[in-house]
Symmetry: C2
Subunit: 113 residues, 2 copies
């Protein structure tokens, strides 16, 4: 059989984007640096998973974590250059979503299936 080979780079990128919340986290961070609690409150994701995802993005060099040892500690996450370069991806997703779906009429129930 043909067994077309997959480019390992796109395979890796897809593995990253193919994880729940990854895209949305990057989408939010494109609006500028955000602290942990801000991300947690504007995304429907638990602190545990958010923490895991941010660590992963840090390992990929997409996100930078900065700790300010203040009154209660402040931790700010921001995109690295590599992270900011993902803007065209998020933008393309946004555009596709905008013109593919009519206002609150989705092909499938969100959060179901």
């Amino acid at each position: 059989m043909g067994k077309m080979e997959l480019c390992p780079k796109i395979e890796a990128a897809m593995q990253l984007l193919g994880k729940r919340w990854m895209g949305l986290i990057i989408y939010v961070l494109l609006n500028g640096p955000q602290r942990f609690g801000q991300l947690e409150s504007c995304l429907p994701i638990s602190g545990k998973l958010l923490s895991e995802r941010l660590k992963e993005l840090e390992k990929w060099g997409i996100v930078k974590r900065q700790v300010y040892p203040e009154v209660p500690v402040r931790v700010v996450y921001e995109l690295t250059e590599r992270g900011k370069q993902m803007e065209p991806i998020i933008s393309a997703i946004h555009q596709w979503a905008e013109h593919s779906f009519s206002e609150d009429d989705f092909p499938v129930e969100i959060n179901k299936d």
Copy 2:
């Protein structure tokens, strides 16, 4: 707290792309219609999950399933117009992956965390 609202359309799109294998399945189908077995053999995904994902993509109107009741049955999957319109997304991912990673030097081991 600010609690920036997420656009429901991009949220839906991210939920779709944020599922394992979705991006790669669309990526492969952008090369033209493929039968089930071809997809199964060129993607590192089991038949069970491939079947599930294709059903989901069908419900989203991204993929069309065509059955040819031949000798052994032949089932061909192809992108709909809405599916084909995802090309800029996949293309952006491809470009980002190409220039972000140096040859077989990934920030993180693929298939490991």
